[in-house]
Amino acid sequence: MDVISDIIVQGVQMLLVLLLAPLLTGYVRKVKARLLRRQGASVFQPYRDLLRLLRKEVVLADNASWLFRVTPYITFAAVWVAAALVPTFATGLLFNWTADLIAIVALLGSARFFLALAGMDVGTSFGGIGSSREVMIATLAEPAMLLIVFCLALVAGSTQLSTVSHFLASSYVGLRVSLGMALVALFMVAIAENARIPVDNPATHLELTMVHEAMILEYSGRHLAMIEFGAYLKLLLYVSLIACVFFPWQIALYGTGALSYAIGAGAYIVKLALAGFLLALFETATAKMRVFRVPQFLGAAFMLGLLGTLLLFVSRSF
């Protein structure tokens, strides 16, 4: 019986991230438009986009290899698995023993690896530019991300997300400067990884600034839908990662019944709305930076992660 309810809760979690991801992106777009005093598309526009793309015919280049065709599915699957592993409304789910932070970083890394390969597959210059920029950002963002993981792991004594979330929800943690630094660094990494505004602008097709868009320029139809969906899921993943690690309030513990799951889900949606609003506010307040400034931006994130890890040794010194 327990097993069945565990499977149901885990299934709800997987469906929840799938359903909420386009909504989050639509919501961020809507808030951004409203902040710019525009009307903006409906928050459900991403769903319509996905449906429209799914109905459309796939146009493939003559020299596209099998890699080009399987990459959208691989990317989507990897990101979905990673997003489903992050505890959103409850910890201690069925597959949480695999929800290791390093595994999630690795899943995202492999998704990006395939995407970068596919960008170069057809042989257009845009794809190459996009792939090379994306890989440049990735080589800088991933060390920073791993340092944040180390910082969290040193605080909580585990790289497993459920345990980390549990530990940080307890009152034992107190006020820690390392965690603040890790939060800021994770935020910067999330912005770079999701191709948000200071690093990359997902809404433009300007060749000087495209990163993510240039890489997927050759895709169409259901392939594009899969890739777009993967991008929505990735945004949701980072937001829920920040929420579950740094703001684990009201998250349901294992086996505490349906009511606390419902409360956890409600709190999760509130957190998502808040995070989406803050993200939109941040994006409207900053300007897109040059591609050559991105290493400095991510270097700052790396530095914050490293400094947080170092400061941890001072606070643990007694």
Partner: protein, 220 residues
């Protein structure tokens, strides 16, 4: 076990180290000055918190001195100097930002390793304060080393001195006389440096200290 007193002072001192690193990162003179003012503000908060938890009212005086002199008077004066010298455009740093940041991280790690070894059985609060203060001092030195502009070297010097004040307040029982004399000596140093800045400017038409090397006949 973590207590709130320790956590807050840890946060403030750690924030001071972070702002020192931010100072390394700046490449505009005005933003460097703003970061320096923030540095002094956090310093005065940290000193005031120490005064509160150590029950030492004379430390409040130190906090007020830090706030008034370092967070308000000196940044404003430096703003005016920069404006008069007409050098508000940028800083020519001798070393690039990336290597500088790495060197800064190395210095922070070094000072933590050193201080945690040396002060093995001291009070944890003083221990942590000393470790952070040493890194602030070293980072101030790094700012001085990596900048060629005399104004930013002054800012590096002042931030170094902030580190000294942090160390002094962490160690209990520092008399008020010493603090006031240190504060005033810094003010005097600032005035002297300000005069020197204008002298250098008059002589060489620039405050780039590499002009001094050329003048002495030392070529890079």
């Amino acid at each position: 076990m973590h207590s709130l007193a320790f956590d807050v002072s840890h946060t403030l001192a750690g924030g001071l180290v972070l702002i020192s690193l931010m100072m390394l990162y700046q490449d505009r003179l005005y933003s460097l000055l703003n970061v320096f003012a923030l540095h002094a503000l956090v310093l005065s908060l940290s000193v005031a918190w120490q005064a509160f938890i150590q029950d030492a009212p004379h430390l409040y005086v130190t906090a007020v001195i830090a706030l008034v002199f370092k967070a308000i008077i000196i940044p404003v004066a430096l703003h005016r100097i920069i404006k008069q010298l007409g050098i508000h455009r940028d800083i020519e740093s001798a070393v690039g930002i990336g290597p500088t940041m790495l060197a800064g991280m190395g210095l922070v790690a070094l000072s933590l390793v050193l201080m945690l070894r040396v002060t093995g059985d001291a009070d944890p609060l003083a221990r942590e304060d000393l470790a952070f203060a040493l890194s602030v001092v070293l980072l101030g030195l790094l700012v001085m080393v990596t900048r060629r502009n005399a104004v930013s070297q002054v800012v590096g010097f002042m931030s170094l001195e902030n580190g000294l004040v942090l160390a002094a307040t962490g160690a209990k029982g520092m008399p008020l006389v010493v603090e006031i004399s240190v504060a005033f000596s810094i003010l005097i140093a600032f005035i002297v440096i300000g005069i020197f800045l204008f002298r250098i400017r008059e002589r060489f038409d620039s405050v780039d200290v590499s002009a001094l090397d050329d003048f002495r006949g030392e070529r890079r």
